[in-house]
């Protein structure tokens, strides 16, 4: 029952059974793309600094000192200066990466899982079930995404888990749309019909024949969401809706350092540089992945 028909799909499509050769080709393509490699290197650096922060950071990110407040960049002992409570900024930025990256990546992963499942279901079952699911999701499209994120996390109350829920809810409908449209296309192909006639159950058809085709486009779409998610997640913390002080997080640090833009502007702007660099690296990498996975077209 190994069906490997070439698919006339407009979107980037993996073969029905993701063969090793396809991913090898994608990987080779990516490796030859200098932009992709540079973005990946930057991301690795940021992720590495965040993951190993407890061992690498020069100081305790929570240790405040009233006499060492808002030291400029390059002060002895404080490479990137100190924040409004005299805490070492470099250490806080490194530790802050843990929550910021977590808050940016987790909603996309969750939406990828939930959205693909709902999209597969809607697309494969079709008919009224599809109609019902898609019409309900249309409602979410009537909300601009930033407003939806702020409204949900504002309604649930400030806090990290509520922000994660809010962001996931923002992304799920978008992922469902992609997954549903690809599933609907795949479902009408002859080899699915053949599998069904040879007695395969719905679950095993989805697992072996549909999933492989759907995961590719949805994966590409989800990588594109990472940058948006980073900006939104830190934005929620910036508004005071996400991570709570004294926890280090880039968006929140940007907020608490705002009062320092008159006395020490460069230190105050630093957390935003990291959000920006991470987000642009995610965006460039997503673009490269998209074009690398497009080779089948």
């Amino acid at each position: 029952m190994s069906a490997t028909l070439p698919l006339p799909l407009p979107a980037a499509a993996a073969p029905a059974q993701p063969s090793r050769s396809y991913w090898t080709v994608v990987w080779r393509q990516l490796r030859r793309d200098p932009m992709a490699m540079a973005s990946a290197a930057v991301l690795l650096l940021i992720v590495g600094a965040a993951v190993f922060a407890p061992w690498l950071a020069p100081a305790d990110p929570y240790k405040a000192s009233m006499i060492k407040r808002l030291l400029p960049i390059g002060s002895p002992g404080f490479l990137l200066g100190t924040d409004e409570l005299g805490r070492d900024l470099l250490s806080r930025l490194m530790h802050g990466g843990r929550l910021s990256l977590l808050m940016g990546v987790v909603p996309v992963l969750a939406a990828f899982g939930i959205g693909t499942t709902i999209g597969l279901l809607a697309g494969y079952v079709g008919g009224r079930v599809n109609m019902a699911i898609m019409r309900v999701l249309d409602i979410f499209y009537a909300f601009p995404s930033v407003l939806l994120a702020v409204a949900i996390s504002g309604a649930l109350g400030p806090g990290m888990s509520n922000s994660l829920i809010a962001l996931t809810l923002v992304f799920v409908p978008q992922v469902v749309r992609v997954a549903e449209s690809v599933t609907t296309q795949v479902r009408q192909l002859d080899y699915i019909e053949a599998a069904r006639m040879s007695g395969a159950g719905a679950f095993s058809i989805i697992r072996t024949h549909v999933l492989g085709n759907v995961l590719g486009p949805v994966f590409v779409y989800a990588t594109g969401l990472l940058s948006v998610s980073m900006i939104l997640a830190s934005g929620l913390s910036f508004l005071g809706l996400g991570v709570k002080p004294p926890e280090p997080e880039w968006g929140l640090m940007l907020n608490t350092l705002r009062s320092a833009i008159y006395s020490n502007p460069w230190v105050a702007a630093l957390p935003g540089v990291l959000i920006f660099v991470t987000s642009i690296a995610f965006n460039l990498l997503a673009d490269s992945v998209r074009s690398a996975m497009d080779i089948r077209k």
């Binding site: 009537a142 909300f143 949900i152 900006i231 105050a268 957390p271 642009i280």
Partner: protein, 317 residues
Amino acid sequence: MFAYILKRLIYAIPIALSVTVVSFVLVYLAPGDPLNAIAPADAPEEVIQALKSAYGLDKPVPVQYGLWLMRAVQGDLGLSIASGREVTAEVLSAVSNTLLLAGMAAAIGVVLGCILGALAGYRHGTWIDKAATALSVVGVSIPHYWLGLVLTILFSIWLPWFPAMGAGPGGSGEWLWDLEHLRYLVLPALTLSVIPMGIITRTVRALVADMLGQEFVTALRARGLSGGAVFRHVAKNTAPTVLAVAGLQIGYLMGGSILVETVFAWPGTGFLLNTAIFQRDIPLLQGTILVLCMFFVVLNLLVDILQPLIDPRMGRS
């Protein structure tokens, strides 16, 4: 054409209705009692009951929704729990400020985006193309609340050209169309314009590059049309898509201005939402979300209706 508009209008009704449901129900997701904001924790039971019936909180949720919707249709969104003032009045004055900011940002973003995108599309593969593409990537990747801070540092603190906060010399008084007030609009509008600028540049670039490779352009050129005349054809063919993208962007800006408004202390809906969220002011929260979303729904509808006017092929299907 008429049937098309009618169909769009009818399709917008269930969406608008569900938006009212979501705006209303959203705040009931929250744990805790909305009255906590005004009633002290040790208030006697009678006082709490009296307050509950005063705000209509003693009825079942569907009934509350029905009553709320009936009044909302008539333009009455209730009283703000925190300030005691009418929500409709507060939201309307804030919405006009947000609309001003979002409209200006959209205008800057769309104009710049079209110019950059067309240049990049025409000069495909040259340094102009690369610069425009890079700028558009920056535009969609930059955390705009941070850009707002950076612009404040550069053009308000270093070079004291523009004010950093508020919407007028008196803080947040009445908006006037004079130079003094416009100076307050420059930084927030520029900050917010970066997002539509990036997206429109991308869209226009791809459209123009694609269009120039098509046979009808070759045919026009072969007939000896000047560059300007060919461009008019290209522009006409890209307009419907650009309009659709631009329309959506204005809607996103209405919602997305929350963060920028916070940075610049702009007295718009973002400020109102912030107040409503942190004071747990439910009528104000519901009202603001509802009005913003209705703007978005109407805007989508307008785009849907305008598109076939520009491109008659769409109305026929």
